[in-house]
C-alpha cells in the first residue's frame, strides 16, 4: 500500500535465527551430546521487509511456526534480530526505551498480564502508575474502555473468577489504558466464542477509528481478518509470500468458485463440475475460476434453475491454498 504519509512501522531485511541443540533419541546420543554438543541454526524470520502507514490495520497471516510471533516479538522489543533493521514510531524497538514502551502494546492471546488473585481494577491501577498516567487521564480512559467493552460488572471481581472471554476483554483494556499508538495483537481472539470474537473485533475497529492507532494483528480466525484488515501480509517459513489488499489475495489465489444451484427435481449436475454436496434440489458445485462464466451460462440454458449463486471460496481455503502452492 503506497502512502504519502511517513510509515510508523518499517522493516528492512529483518532476520531472526535461533541456535537449537540437536540430539537424537536414545541413551547413546544423550551421552554423546555431553561430550560434543551439536547445534543447528533455525531461521525463523528470513529478511522480512514491509512498511505500515499510521492508522492502518494489517492482518499478519501464516501457519503455525511461520514466524509471525517472532516478528511481533522483535517489533515490540522482546527479541533482538540477528540482522536487518526495524523502526517503530521512529524507535529501534529492542532498545526498549521508556518513550517507546509507553507508546506501544503487545497482547498475546494465551498469556495474561493481569494479576490473578486481585480485582481487575487493582491491576488497572498498577498500570496507571507504571505508565505514569494522571488520575484524570486514567479515569477518562477507564470510563471509555468500560463503556466500549462493557466491563462494569467485571472490574471488582478477582481475575481468577472471570471466564476466558471476560478475562480477554480485561486484558485488552489493561493493554490500552495508556492509549498506545501502535498495537501488536497476537491471536487476540484465541479460544473465544463467536459472540465474544465479534465483540472484540468491533472494539478493535472502533479503537482504531477513534484514536488513529496502527494495528498489526495475527489470527487464525479469518473472520477477524475479513472484518478488520483491508490489508494482509502473508508469511510462510519466515518469508513474505503476499502483501496487499485482502480482495487481491482472494482474486489471485482462489483458483475456483463455488456454484450453488437450486433446480427442480434435483438433476445430477456432475457433468458440469465437481459436486461438493447435494441436498434435495440444491447442488453445490466447485468450478475452476476460468470456467465459471461458461459453465454458469451452460447450466442456465440446460437446466430449469430456480436460483443460482456464485461465491468465492472461504478465505481459510484460499490461505490454505497459498501455503500449499508455495510448499506443495
Amino acid at each position: 500500500m503506497t502512502n504519502a504519509v511517513e510509515p510508523v512501522v518499517v522493516l528492512e531485511g529483518l532476520t531472526k535465527s535461533y541456535v537449537v541443540p540437536v540430539r537424537e533419541a536414545g541413551l547413546k546420543a544423550a551421552l554423546g551430546s555431553l561430550i560434543r554438543r551439536r547445534t543447528r541454526t533455525v531461521e525463523a524470520v528470513k529478511g522480512v521487509s514491509f512498511a505500515i502507514a499510521p492508522g492502518e490495520v494489517v492482518g499478519f497471516l501464516g501457519p503455525n511456526g511461520a514466524g509471525k510471533t517472532t516478528t511481533l516479538k522483535m517489533l515490540s522489543g522482546l527479541l533482538h534480530p540477528t540482522s536487518g533493521a526495524a523502526r517503530v514510531l521512529g524507535f529501534e524497538p529492542w532498545l526498549r526505551q521508556r518513550e517507546y514502551l509507553s507508546r506501544m502494546t503487545l497482547v498475546m492471546g494465551q498469556r495474561n498480564q493481569l494479576m490473578w488473585d486481585i480485582p481487575v481494577i487493582d491491576s488497572f491501577d498498577r498500570n496507571r502508575v507504571i505508565y505514569r498516567l494522571s488520575r484524570e487521564e486514567y479515569r477518562a480512559r477507564l470510563d471509555d474502555l468500560t463503556g466500549l467493552l462493557d466491563l462494569g460488572e467485571l472490574l471488582n471481581k478477582p481475575v481468577r473468577n472471570l471466564s476466558l472471554g471476560e478475562r480477554m476483554k480485561c486484558e485488552i483494556a489493561a493493554a490500552l489504558l495508556h492509549r498506545p499508538q501502535i498495537l501488536f495483537l497476537d491471536e487476540p481472539t484465541l479460544g473465544l466464542d463467536v459472540t465474544m470474537q465479534r465483540r472484540l473485533r468491533t472494539f478493535i475497529a472502533d479503537y482504531n477509528r477513534h484514536t488513529g492507532a496502527t494495528v498489526l494483528l495475527t489470527s487464525h480466525y479469518m473472520a477477524d481478518v475479513e472484518a478488520l484488515c483491508p490489508r494482509v501480509i502473508v508469511i510462510h517459513h519466515g518469508e513474505i509470500l503476499f502483501d496487499g489488499a485482502l480482495s487481491k489475495l482472494i482474486g489471485e489465489f482462489a483458483a475456483y468458485k463455488t456454484l450453488i444451484v437450486d433446480s427442480d427435481g434435483g438433476r445430477d449436475l456432475s457433468s458440469y463440475g465437481e459436486v461438493v454436496s447435494r441436498d434435495g434440489g440444491r447442488t453445490t458445485l466447485r468450478i475452476s475460476k476460468a470456467d465459471t462464466a461458461r459453465v454458469t451460462a451452460q447450466i442456465l440454458t440446460d437446466v430449469s434453475v430456480r436460483d443460482l449463486s456464485v461465491i468465492d471460496p472461504p478465505i481459510d481455503e484460499v490461505i490454505d491454498r497459498v501455503f500449499s502452492e508455495v510448499n506443495p
Binding site: 522482546l78 527479541l79 526498549r96 498469556r111 486481585i118 496507571r128 502508575v129 505508565y131 505514569r132
Partner: protein
C-alpha cells in the same frame, strides 16, 4: 521523586491486597520461619546446660535472645525471588515485565515489604510467646540499638540484591533448583542461622567474615545483642556497604546480560 513515591505506594497497596489473598499459605510459611530458630534455640540451650551453663559465652538465656532476634531479622530480610524466577520465565510473565516502562525489581521490593508488613501480625504474637517461654537475656546498649537500624536496612538490601542477582541464573539454566539449594545451605550456615558464628571453628569464622552471608543476618543480630565492639560494628557496617555496592554493580551487569540473552533466545 514524587513519581517514585506514588509508584511504590501503588505497588505496596497491590502487594498487600495480594498477600491478603494468600493468608493461609503466608501463615504456613511463617510457621517454618518460627520453627527453624526455635529448633536451634532448644538444641543450643540444652548444649549450654550440659556444658555447665555456657558455650562460648552463650548461656541458655543469651541463646534465647540470639534466636529470637535472629527470627525477626531473618523474617525481615528473607526473599523468595529465587523460587519465583524460573516460573516467571517459563510462564512468559517476564515478557510482560520487560515491556513495561519500569524495572521489574521495584515491584519485587514492594511485594517483599508488603509481605513482611502483613506477616508481622503473625510474627509479633510468636515473639511474645517465645519471650515468655524462653526468658531471653538482653544486654542492650544505646549505641548498638541505634546502629542496629541501618545495619538491618543494609542487611535487607544486601540479601535482596544478592538473591535477585542469583535468581537471574534462570536465564542461563532451565533448572535452577539444585544451584539454589547450594546457596541456601551456605547462607543458612554462614549467616549464623545454624549456630552463632562465634561457635564455629576459627577458620570458618574468618571465612564467614570474608563472605557476604554473615552481613545478611548474623551481623545485625550480634550488633543488637551487644556481642560486638564498637570498632567491629563499624567494620561490619563498612563491609555491608561494600557488599551492597558490589551486588548493585553485579545486578546491573548481570541484568543487562540476562536480558540480552533472553532477547537472543526468546521464550
Amino acid at each position: 521523586m514524587r513519581h517514585w513515591l506514588e509508584t511504590y505506594r501503588a505497588f505496596l497497596r497491590i502487594a498487600v491486597l495480594e498477600q491478603l489473598q494468600y493468608r493461609a499459605s503466608g501463615a504456613i510459611w511463617m510457621i517454618g520461619s518460627v520453627l527453624e530458630p526455635v529448633v536451634f534455640l532448644v538444641v543450643w540451650s540444652t548444649v549450654a546446660r550440659s556444658q555447665g551453663g555456657a558455650v562460648a559465652g552463650f548461656t541458655a538465656q543469651t541463646f534465647a535472645a540470639y534466636y529470637i532476634v535472629l527470627m525477626m531479622v531473618n523474617h525481615l530480610t528473607f526473599t523468595w525471588v529465587m523460587h519465583d524466577f524460573q516460573f516467571r520465565v517459563q510462564m512468559g510473565q517476564l515478557s510482560f515485565a520487560l515491556l513495561r516502562p519500569v524495572h521489574p525489581i521495584h515491584e519485587d521490593v514492594a511485594a517483599n515489604v508488603a509481605y513482611k508488613l502483613v506477616m508481622l501480625t503473625v510474627m509479633m504474637p510468636a515473639l511474645v510467646v517465645l519471650w515468655y517461654a524462653f526468658e531471653p537475656e538482653f544486654a542492650l546498649a544505646a549505641w548498638s540499638t541505634a546502629t542496629f537500624v541501618p545495619a538491618l536496612l543494609l542487611a535487607f538490601l544486601l540479601r535482596f540484591l544478592a538473591e535477585w542477582t542469583l535468581a537471574l541464573a534462570t536465564f542461563w539454566m532451565t533448572r535452577v533448583t539444585a544451584m539454589n539449594q547450594i546457596y541456601f545451605s551456605l547462607q543458612m550456615f554462614l549467616a549464623g542461622r545454624v549456630a552463632p558464628i562465634a561457635l564455629l571453628p576459627a577458620w570458618l569464622g574468618d571465612l564467614a567474615h570474608g563472605l557476604p552471608f554473615y552481613y545478611m543476618v548474623g551481623f545485625p543480630v550480634e550488633l543488637l545483642l551487644g556481642k560486638i565492639s564498637a570498632d567491629a560494628a563499624l567494620d561490619g557496617l563498612m563491609a555491608q556497604l561494600v557488599w551492597v555496592a558490589v551486588m548493585a554493580a553485579l545486578i546491573a551487569l548481570v541484568w543487562r546480560r540476562a536480558v540480552a540473552r533472553f532477547s537472543a533466545v526468546g521464550s
